[in-house]
Amino acid sequence: MTEDRGAPASESIMVVGGGISGLTTAIEAAEVGYEVFLVEKNPYLGGRVSQLNQYFPKLCPPSCGLEINFRRIKDNPKIKVFTLAEVESVTGTPGDYDVSIKLAPRYVNENCTCCGDCAAVCETKIESDFDFGMKQIKGAYQPFEMAFPARYVLSPQIIGTDDAVRCKEACQYDAIDLEMETSTLNLKVGALVWATGWEPYDASKIDNLGFGQYENVITNMMLERLASPNGPTKGVIQRPSDKKDIESIAFVQCAGSRDENHLPYCSYICCMASLKHATYIRERYPDAKIYIFYIDLRAPGYRYEQFYKRIKEDENVFFIKGKVAEVNEDPATKNITVVAENAVTGEKIHQTVEMAVLATGMQPTAANAKLPADLTYTEDGFIINDFEKGGMFAAGCANKPADVVSSNQNATGMALKAIQTLVNR
């Protein structure tokens, strides 16, 4: 899939980032009839949402929409997908950009049939970033079952080891090519859409909340993986320290968000995510006690409001207005005690639970590594769209924190802005 068909710049758009926003922009533009290059740094498409178990408020699996989107890509030769690819430089002006892309080696070519023989013989185990290190995977792996492209990848960690050779020998289809090297590809495009998405804020930076110090303090994204059928526990949610069932759990809202020491803005999704997580817990533990500590519960819009109401009906879900500012562990039981002031009653609460989940927020990818293009950012690394100038646009969470629906609305709109650039150049 990764050969350059060298379409005329005037007709082509580059979308950087293959998460839900990037996919949307790319596919919507291509279905209008434009040539699209979709550039993704991971070996698979789907981005953050592919790590989620369910979407709020429908509680439906993201893989459902991804599968449709992948099919739309398969049925549409106008979309070229580049995985393991990163933009190195962008020069030029709206309507006429030269982009060079760095393609990292996958060490597996199009011959791969996903038969899995390589993984079977590979002995090295590596930490899966996809599962936030909660799972060990083979050095030769398929990112996840429904991954697109459906092709294995060799971790650079095993390159040059006997393992790599073993994998190569195990492959009957000569799909493993250890000679693959990083290559650069130059493309001409008329417009770019940056859908570089977000990263979960590094919870270990919030030192008063005990992440990284106490085993039973995890993040909301980790909980998504635990709840996922293809996650490290195949959907079983137990506390990390001793695989004990959950009788009580605390959700710490605004863990890093709305906080000038960390992320000054509101990350938009965390409240709804924790409400959703309450359903994950309830589904598995009918009488577990669930405590949600918040500053403001943000469930805007009729649909989210309804969802929130539904959760409130559960008499074992408790909402406390007060931010958790202290987290302790009982070394003996490994239980976690979260401390907050209930600001309405004016009482300090020391709630001991078996497990605490930090509702960490989203940080734009560009906050940690500026993009190689002439873009303007907010202090926090969100890309500011300049529609007057045109040519390059940010879509989804590269532009502002948002839920999937809004991101897709935004991403669809940005497809049009990109097309406008081509039409009006």
Binding site: M1, I20, E28, E31, V32, G33, N53, K58, C60, P62, S63, C64, G65, L66, E67, I68, N69, R71, K74, D75, N76, P77, N111, T113, C114, C115, E145, M146, A150, Y173, P229, N230, Y265, C266, S267, Y268, D296, L297, P300, G301, Y302, E305, Y308, K309, A343, V344, G346, T378, F382, V404, S406, N408, Q409, T412, G413, L416, K417, I419, Q420, V423
Partner: protein, 778 residues
């Protein structure tokens, strides 16, 4: 085209090791169809081999290898009919030889033993061959009259923004606005929320300059004091009748008759003609939907941006807050008007209102929700209006009582900057009462962050009431569709014209009509403008797709469309009624009139049709029927204890991928089941099930998406309709002395692949217990 067949069987990925290639090749062989095997069909030589045969005239290929979900590009051959038989994921990978052993030499040919796996593979090859015989390459549907123009309903910020976006992309747009002036709600505002970082200061409403832009845009036509009387036709060729608001004309859209009118006094259902009569009576003075307005203007697509209206509290609805009783208690919309006029003055006596309380939640009882239709906008508006008080009076005081300060995302900055104002006071709290206090007001609240029950003196009180979509009051789009003039799902969405799809926010049940802005959710100006761009793109995309004769989402690019054999139509109207997209309008006799560009190609009509006169070039009653019939059903004549045969009709969107994953994970399930992928469970015609059972198959099940309010069906209603039909078929079965249990439907989400083997095996067991189908062998 005259077909030249070829069957190609791949030996790779363990297929060759598990299966007897020769035996498989004999199947096409029996019919004189050439077949070839290859050790690695998707590899270069494999593809070369296929290409060579194609050059030599083969144009109809059955490729028995891996799932159609992979190597889609490798096995795409333009101008050829290609069917993918899934021998890998759904045969060898999901049925390990360890569990499904091959026959030993002496077992072969006896009447006791059989090779389940071999039988499975052979059946799939037969099914593939049967299918390609019955399908053709699609020809795109071309509209005779085609328009690229876009109609925008609503001249507010959203509508204008969408129009400008479409115009900038080179499309002609007509905006219709029911009021005399453009601008919508925004023209009544003093100030507007910030639209970009740092989101700190209020700005003057951008609507003003937007109106100028629209009026000077050459591609945009503006028609004020105009509404759509009806929108007839289909994407690419909507025929629109415009009129002045309130006017009554013959092309006003007719409404469907209520159910009680559909029966005669004896309660007997009326026939098509009688129904149509009633319909015309009911819609007296209006033309039927099928009579096109000769003066009608043609449009390719419609953007619904009719927006919202301020919520109007009912008599005594918020009496505890004094609304209705106390003149100085107003809604945020009323306050905005007052603020727009100039210095904020009290309605009661026109005195300056320098102390104003803003209430964000009705606060009745324990309920902490905001006013209905609020979204997060009303929080932001309360902050904005608090600022007005401070602008007007140096000593002014603004109090905000919120339950949850809703300033999500970057609008948190706006909250932060407003906090800085020493004259703005905020607290979480439950307002219990607003009462008179001299010539002013006194507001009492509980559970505040100030501890005690508190009272605040105020000159005015403002309720942060919500933004009601105008679709609550009437359909607005006024579609001349047999199913009715409005969007169908709105009831699910509190009357907003929203989409139920998280991944596909523009997908509704009305192709070619895309809602944006306040009509779909409570949105800020910034959000509405983004939404408008998206809707504009979808409109443009729909027009171009219609022009290319291909479907839009989710079967984007699909060139097929339903084809009707009208001679046999019995005017039962089912297709018209059941189509999730209202693509069919039946005439006075009840004969359906297809509108192919409204169609999403799900095949629900095909599934609904009792006469089986609806089909697609590459997917029809016959193609699937023949696949069913091609399945070999062993009977006692063949074996002492013949294996069962179960038909599984699976949704290709969710269930089929799930099955693939079972194979990928090397799970395993009964080898007696034969799967046939369907576009949507809605397209399943009961005849297939009857065929299966009457040829002796022991059971049939449907596997598809979850339905209900949070439906996951990509065609909205498919799996739900199937469920209804399966219930009906139960009766038919009992008349045949067959147990209802032999036919079942199961719901799974795409990620529930771990559950699939269980579901399949449980059903197989159940059938086993019921014993063989009595019709077997006949």
């Amino acid at each position: 085209m005259d077909k030249k067949y070829g069957v190609y069987i791949c030996e790779g990925c363990g297929i060759g090791d598990a299966l007897d290639m020769k035996a498989l090749c004999d199947i096409p062989g029996e019919e004189g169809v050439p077949s070839k095997t290859h050790s690695f069909l998707c590899g270069k030589d494999g593809v070369a081999l296929l290409k060579k045969d194609i050059e030599e005239g083969t144009n109809t290929l059955v490729i028995a290898a891996c799932s159609r979900r992979v190597n889609f590009d490798v096995f795409r051959f333009d101008g050829c009919i290609v069917d993918r038989v899934n021998l890998r994921e759904q045969v060898v990978w999901s049925h390990p030889r360890s569990e499904f052993p091959a026959l030993t030499e002496d077992q072969k040919g006896d009447e006791e033993h059989f090779d389940r796996l071999e039988m499975l593979a052979q059946d799939y090859i037969r099914m593939g061959m049967a299918k390609v015989k019955k399908i053709d390459l699609p020809e795109p549907y071309k509209l005779d009259n085609f328009s690229r123009k876009i109609l925008v309903i609503g001249g507010g910020v959203t509508g204008m923004s969408a129009a400008l976006d479409a115009a900038k992309t080179g499309y002609d747009v007509t905006i219709i606005e029911k009021e005399a002036l453009l601008g919508g709600n925004a023209v009544n505002w003093r100030k507007q929320l910030p639209m970009q970082s740092p989101y700190e200061e209020l700005i003057s409403p951008i609507v003003v300059q937007m109106i100028q832009e629209v009026e000077s845009a050459s591609r945009i036509t503006v028609k004020t004091e105009t509404v759509a009387a009806r929108i007839a036709g289909e994407p690419g060729n909507f025929v629109v009748t415009l009129k002045k608001p309130g006017e009554k004309i013959e092309f006003d859209v007719p409404f469907p008759i209520p159910d009680e009118m559909k029966v005669d006094e004896k309660g007997k259902e009326l026939n098509a003609e009688q129904l149509h009569e009633k319909f015309m009576e009911y819609n007296e003075g209006k033309n039927d939907i099928l009579s096109m307005d000769p003066e009608g203007e043609a449009f390719g697509a419609v953007i619904l941006a009719a927006g919202w209206r301020p919520y109007e509290p009912e008599e005594g609805e918020f009496s505890h807050l004094g609304y209705g009783e106390l003149a100085d208690v107003v809604t945020n919309a009323q306050f905005e008007e007052i603020a727009k006029k100039g210095k904020i003055a009290r309605p009661s006596d026109g005195k300056e209102a320098s102390s104003v309380v803003f209430i964000q939640s009705p606060g009745a009882g324990e309920d902490d929700s905001d006013f209905e239709y609020a979204g997060s906008v009303t929080s932001l508006v309360a902050l904005k209006q608090a600022k007005y008080v401070r602008e007007d009076f140096p000593e002014g005081k603004a109090f905000l009582f919120y339950q949850h300060m809703r300033t999500p995302g970057l609008s948190e900055n706006f909250y932060k900057s407003l906090q800085q104002d020493p004259g703005i006071f905020m607290t979480k709290g439950q307002v219990t009462s607003v009462s008179k206090n001299g010539d002013g007001l006194i507001v009492e609240a509980e559970n505040t962050l100030l501890g005690d029950k508190i009272q605040v003196k105020a000159d005015m009180v403002v309720l942060a009431t919500g933004m009601v979509p105008v679709t609550k009051d009437d359909p607005v789009v006024n579609l001349a569709y047999r199913q009715g003039p409005g969007f169908r799902d709105n009831a699910l969405f509190l009357d907003y014209a929203d989409s139920n799809f998280i991944c596909f926010p523009y997908e509704t049940q009305r192709t070619g009509i895309y809602a944006a802005g306040g009509i779909r959710r409570a949105l800020t100006v910034e959000e509405s403008m983004e939404d408008a761009s998206g809707a504009a793109l979808k409109a443009i995309q729909c027009i171009d797709s219609a022009n290319r004769g291909v479907s839009v989402h989710p079967r984007s690019g699909d060139m097929t469309f339903p084809d009707f054999f009208f001679q046999r139509c019995t005017q039962c109207k089912r297709c018209t009624e059941e189509c999730p997209f209202g693509a069919l309008d039946d005439d006075e006799k009840g004969t359906p009139k297809p509108n192919p560009t409204r169609c999403r190609r799900c095949g629900t009509c095909m599934g609904a049709c009792p006469e089986r006169i609806i089909g697609f070039a590459d997917y029809n009653i016959d193609s699937v029927g023949s696949m069913v019939k091609s399945i070999e059903v062993p009977s006692e004549d063949d074996y002492d204890d013949p294996p069962m045969r179960i038909l599984g009709l699976v949704c290709e969107n969710d269930a089929y991928p799930a099955l693939d994953i079972v194979g990928l994970n090397r799970g395993s399930y009964s080898a007696e089941v034969r799967f046939i992928p369907v576009r949507c469970l809605g397209s399943v015609n009961v005849i297939w099930i009857k065929d299966a059972l009457s040829q002796g198959m022991d059971g049939v099940f449907l596997l598809g998406c979850k339905h209900g309010d949070d439906y996951q069906c990509h065609f909205v209603k498919g799996s739900e309709l199937a469920e209804v039909r399966m219930k009906k078929i139960g009766e038919a079965l009992s008349s045949l002395a067959l147990e209802n249990e032999r036919v079942a439907q199961f719901q799974i989400a795409i990620d529930e692949y771990d559950k699939v083997p269980q579901i399949v095996n449980d059903f197989a067991e159940l059938i086993e217990d019921l014993g063989p189908n009595p019709f077997k062998g006949f």
